[in-house]
C-alpha cells in the first residue's frame, strides 16, 4: 500500500521503490523484518535513499541533544514571560510612539518620539534649578528620590536588623516575625495607619513629641510639602526593611563561622569584621533585595493613592501616579505610555550598573 503511494508520488524513483519492495518481500520472511521496515521508512521520510545507517542517528542525535531535552523546562516559561512581560513592554513602547488619545483603537500609521520630547521639554520648562516647575519635573524628581533614598534606607535598616538578629539573641524567631510582619500587610491598611499616626492633632508621632517635651518639633507631617515625601518614605522603609532583613539574614547564614573566628583571631574589631569581611560577601543578597525594593518603591503608588487620591501634590507626586492620571484620567494613552517607558528606563538605569558589575565578577 505504502509503496504504491510512493510510486505515485515519486514516479521517477519507480525502479528504486520496486527494488526496495523486493528487499522488503525478502526481509518479510526473516525474523527481524519489522525492525528493518521501520528504519527503512525512517530513511525514506528523511528523503534519502542510500546511507540509511547514518541518517536516523542524526535525527536521534538532535532529539537526544541537551538543547531539545531542556526545552520542556524553559520553553513554556520563556514564552509566557516573553509574551506577557517583554511583549507587553514592547507594545507599550510602540503605543508611546503613536498619538493615541480617546476611546478608539490606536492607529499605527505614524511613529515618532513626540511624547518623549513633550515630556522632557516639560521637565526642563522654567529651568531645572529655578522653577516654577511642571508636574513632569516634580514627578520625575520625586520618583528618583524615592528609588534611591528608599532603597538605600531600607537596605541599611534591613542589614542592621539582620546583623542584630544574627547575633544569637534570644527569641530570634519572634523578632524576625515582628520585623517581617509589616510587609504582609496591605498598603491600604498601612497607609491608613500612618495617616493616623501622622495626624498633627491626635497622631502618635506628634503626641509622643509633645510628651517628651519636644513639642516644638511637631509638624503637619503629611500635608506640609517639606515633609510629605519624607513621611511617605519613612512609612515605606518601616514596611519593607523587614524584607531586606530576611534576605540579608539568609546571606549571613551562608557565610561559614570560620571566617568570623578567623577575623577575631586576627584581632579585627566587631565593626571592622563586618565592614571588611562579612558585608562584602553580601553582594548577591544586596542585588536581589535592591531589585525587589525598587519594585516596591514603584508600588508607592498604592500608598499615595490611599492617602491623597490621584493628586498627591508636587511634593509627593510620582511618575506612576502621573502615568495613571494621564492614561485613565484624561485618556492620553500615548503620553501615559511614554511616562511608563521613562519609569522603566529609570528603574533599569538604577539597577543596570550594579547588575553589570556583578556579572563581570561572575557573581550572577
Amino acid at each position: 500500500m505504502r509503496s504504491r503511494i510512493l510510486r505515485v508520488l515519486r514516479p521517477g524513483e519507480h525502479a528504486d521503490a520496486e527494488s526496495e519492495q523486493q528487499v522488503r518481500t525478502d526481509g518479510g520472511t526473516s525474523a527481524d523484518g519489522p525492525q528493518h521496515d521501520t528504519s527503512d521508512s525512517d530513511a525514506r521520510a528523511d528523503g534519502g535513499v542510500t546511507g540509511t545507517a547514518e541518517q536516523p542517528s542524526r535525527t536521534r542525535r538532535w532529539l537526544d541533544s541537551e538543547f531539545v531535552k531542556s526545552l520542556p523546562f524553559w520553553l513554556p516559561a520563556t514564552l509566557l514571560v516573553g509574551l506577557f512581560v517583554y511583549g507587553a513592554i514592547g507594545w507599550n513602547f510602540v503605543i508611546s510612539l503613536t498619538d493615541w488619545t480617546g476611546l478608539r483603537q490606536p492607529t499605527y500609521d505614524s511613529f515618532d518620539f513626540e511624547m518623549y520630547e513633550v515630556f522632557f521639554r516639560n521637565v526642563g520648562k522654567g529651568g531645572l534649578l529655578s522653577g516654577p516647575h511642571t508636574q513632569e519635573y516634580w514627578a520625575l524628581r520625586n520618583t528618583f528620590v524615592l528609588l534611591i533614598v528608599f532603597t538605600v534606607a531600607a537596605l541599611v535598616v534591613g542589614l542592621l536588623l539582620a546583623i542584630l538578629v544574627d547575633r544569637d539573641i534570644r527569641y530570634e524567631n519572634t523578632f524576625r516575625t515582628i520585623y517581617l510582619l509589616p510587609m504582609s500587610l496591605s498598603f491600604v491598611v498601612t497607609a491608613i495607619f500612618w495617616a493616623w499616626m501622622y495626624n498633627p492633632e491626635t497622631g502618635m508621632i506628634n503626641e509622643t513629641l509633645r510628651l517628651v517635651g519636644l513639642g516644638s518639633l511637631t509638624q503637619q507631617w503629611i500635608s506640609d510639602p517639606q515633609f510629605k515625601l519624607f513621611a511617605v518614605m519613612f512609612a515605606l522603609v518601616w514596611q519593607f526593611s523587614g524584607y531586606a532583613m530576611v534576605v540579608y539574614l539568609a546571606g549571613l547564614r551562608a557565610i561559614p563561622t570560620d571566617q568570623y573566628e578567623a577575623a577575631k583571631v586576627d584581632g579585627a574589631s566587631l565593626v571592622k569584621m563586618y565592614w571588611r569581611v562579612i558585608i562584602p560577601q553580601l553582594r548577591a543578597s544586596t542585588t536581589s533585595a535592591a531589585v525587589v525594593l525598587m519594585v516596591f518603591a514603584l508600588k508607592a503608588f498604592d500608598f499615595l493613592f490611599v492617602l491623597f487620591g490621584t493628586r498627591p501634590g508636587p511634593s509627593a507626586d510620582i511618575l506612576a501616579m502621573m502615568m495613571y492620571r494621564e492614561s485613565f484620567g484624561i485618556t492620553n494613552w500615548a503620553y501615559g505610555s511614554a511616562i511608563a517607558m521613562v519609569l522603566f528606563a529609570l528603574a533599569l538605569g538604577v539597577i543596570a550598573p550594579y547588575l553589570y558589575v556583578q556579572f563581570k565578577r561572575g557573581e550572577l
Binding site: G102, L103, R104, Q105, P132, Q135, A195, W196, Y198, N199, P200, E201, T202, G203, Q220, W221, I222, S223, D224, P225, K228, F305, L307, F308, G309, T310, R311, P312, G313, P314, S315, D317, Y324, R325, F328, G329, I330, T331
Partner: protein, 449 residues
C-alpha cells in the same frame, strides 16, 4: 470549534438558568416558573438582535456599572433597582460596582472596556463636560428619541437639560440626582456660644470675620475642612468665587477667561488662603467625613460641603436638623444652586440596547427618582416629583432649587469643564493646598483652561 463554543454557551445558559431558578426560590418565589420560560425566549430573540459578542447570550441582562457602594448611596441604588425590576420584570439586572478613587476606578474599567468594544449596558458618569472624552470618541448613543420623551423634556430644568446634551444638542445622558454644592453647614450650639448669626453672613469676607469671632470665643475649629485630597478645596474656591464676584464671573472663568477676571480670581484665592488659618489643625490628614464628624461632635463650627454631608448628620444620633445643625447657602451665593449631578448613559456596541433604554427611561421617571433621591440625600432633577418622601431638609433644598436664578456647573465634580481642564485645575490646587501661594496658583490657573 464552532460546535464547541455553542455547546459551552448552552451549558453556561443552563447553569445560569439553574442559578436564576435557585435565586428565585431563595427570594420566596416572587417569580413563577412561567417567568423562567419567558426569560429563555427573550434571551434567544435578544441575541438574534445584536449578537456581536459572545457574552450577550442574555440580551435582557442589564449590566450597571457605578461607584455607589457606601452606606446611603448603596441603599439608594438598591431602591432604584428594586423599583426597576418591579416595572420591568423581564430584565435581569447585574449590579457591577467599580468603587474607589472618587470614580477613577470606574473610569479605568469603563474606558478599557469601551476600547475593547465590550462596554456594559450602562454606566454612571457626571453629565456635562465630563462626557467630553466619550463624546469626542463618539461612543455614546443619541437617546433623544428613545428615552427623552416630551414628558421628560418638560419636567427637567433647562440648566440640567443642557448638561445632558452633546455640543450639537443630542441627548446622551439621563441625570438621576442633583446635589447642591454651595452649602454652609453649621453646628447650632457652637454658633450660639460664639454669638454668630449664620443668616446674616452675606459674603465670603463676612464669613472670614465670623470665623475670627468663633476662634476667639470658643475652642471649636471655626471651619472643618480636609486638604488631603484636592477636591474639597477646589469646590470651596468655586463657591468663594461665586460668593465674592458673582455667578457671571464664575461662568466666565470656567469658560476659560481667567486673565480677564484677574482681580476676582486672585481675591477669591486669597480668601481661601485666609480661611485656612481657621481650618481644623489636622485638615491635611483627614478625609472629608472625618472633618464633617467634627461638626457633629461640636469640635467645629462650619463646614462647606455638598449636601451629601447631611446624610452623615441624619445617621448621627441626637443630631437633628434645625435644633442641632442647620445650613445656609454659602455666603454671597443666595439664589444660586451650584449643581453636582450623576447620570447614566448608553454606550455604543451595547450588549442590551432594549434593556438599557428601559433603564434610562426609568432613571428619568418620577417613580425612579422618587425612590432613589430621598435615600441618597439628593433632590430629583425632575421638578414634578412629589415632596412626600423627602424630609424637611431636602424639601427646603428643593424649594431653593425651584426658585434658583442660576444653576452653574462645577469644576471639582466634572460638569463644568472637560476632563483635561479639570486635571489642570486640580494640578494647580494640589500645589495650592501645600504652599497657599496665591500668585503661583493664579499663574497655573491662567494656563489651565
Amino acid at each position: 470549534m464552532t460546535n464547541d463554543t455553542n455547546s459551552s454557551l448552552t451549558r453556561r445558559r443552563y447553569i445560569k438558568a439553574g442559578g436564576a431558578a435557585g435565586a428565585t426560590i431563595a427570594i420566596a418565589g416572587c417569580l413563577g416558573g412561567g417567568d423562567g420560560d419567558s426569560d429563555g425566549e427573550e434571551t434567544t430573540t435578544a441575541s438574534d438582535d445584536g449578537g456581536t459578542t459572545q457574552s450577550d447570550d442574555g440580551g435582557q441582562e442589564l449590566e450597571i456599572v457605578h461607584w455607589w457602594t457606601a452606606g446611603g448611596e448603596k441603599d439608594a441604588l438598591n431602591a432604584l433597582i428594586e423599583g426597576f425590576e418591579q416595572e420591568y420584570p423581564d430584565v435581569d439586572v447585574t449590579n457591577n460596582p467599580a468603587p474607589g478613587g472618587a470614580g477613577s476606578a470606574l473610569d479605568t474599567e469603563i474606558q478599557s472596556r469601551i476600547i475593547n468594544e465590550n462596554p456594559p449596558s450602562t454606566f454612571q458618569i457626571w453629565p456635562g463636560k465630563a462626557l467630553n472624552t466619550y463624546l469626542e470618541s463618539d461612543v455614546l448613543v443619541d437617546i433623544g428619541d428613545s428615552v427623552w420623551d416630551d414628558g421628560m423634556r418638560d419636567a427637567y430644568l433647562d440648566g440640567v437639560k443642557d448638561m445632558s446634551q452633546s455640543a450639537d444638542g443630542e441627548f446622551v445622558a439621563v441625570p438621576l440626582n442633583i446635589h447642591r454644592l454651595n452649602n454652609l453647614f453649621y453646628n447650632v450650639s457652637v454658633l450660639e456660644d460664639a454669638g454668630v448669626d449664620p443668616a446674616s453672613l452675606d459674603s465670603p469676607s463676612a464669613l472670614l470675620d465670623a470665623m475670627e469671632t468663633i476662634d476667639a470665643e470658643t475652642d471649636a475649629a471655626p471651619m472643618a475642612h480636609q486638604t488631603q485630597a484636592v477636591w474639597s478645596t477646589l469646590q470651596m474656591w468655586e463657591d468663594v468665587l461665586i460668593g465674592h464676584a458673582g455667578v457671571d464671573t464664575y461662568q466666565d472663568v470656567i469658560a476659560g477667561n481667567v486673565a480677564d477676571n484677574e482681580t476676582a480670581v486672585r481675591e477669591s484665592l486669597q480668601l481661601v488662603a485666609d480661611f485656612r488659618e481657621y481650618f481644623n489643625e489636622d485638615a491635611g490628614s483627614v478625609a472629608w467625613d472625618e472633618a464633617n464628624g467634627k461638626v457633629i461632635q461640636g469640635n467645629a463650627a462650619f463646614i462647606h460641603q455638598g449636601d451629601w454631608a447631611a446624610g452623615q448628620y441624619g445617621a448621627a444620633e441626637d443630631f437633628e436638623y434645625d435644633s442641632d445643625w442647620g445650613n445656609v447657602a454659602f455666603p454671597g451665593t443666595d439664589g444660586v444652586y451650584h449643581v453636582v449631578a450623576d447620570s447614566f448613559v448608553m454606550p455604543t456596541s451595547n450588549p442590551s440596547p432594549e434593556a438599557t433604554e428601559k433603564w434610562l427611561s426609568y432613571c428619568g421617571s418620577v417613580d425612579g427618582q422618587e425612590r432613589f433621591n430621598p435615600v441618597k440625600g439628593s433632590i430629583p432633577p425632575r421638578t414634578d416629583v412629589p415632596n412626600d418622601e423627602f424630609g424637611p431638609f431636602l424639601t427646603a433644598q428643593r424649594e431653593d432649587f425651584d426658585t434658583s436664578d442660576a444653576q452653574p456647573p462645577t469644576i471639582a465634580h466634572g460638569t463644568g469643564v472637560t476632563p483635561q481642564v479639570k486635571s489642570n485645575v486640580e494640578a494647580a490646587f494640589s500645589a495650592f493646598v501645600g504652599n497657599w501661594n496665591v500668585d503661583a496658583a493664579y499663574d497655573e490657573l491662567t494656563n489651565a483652561f
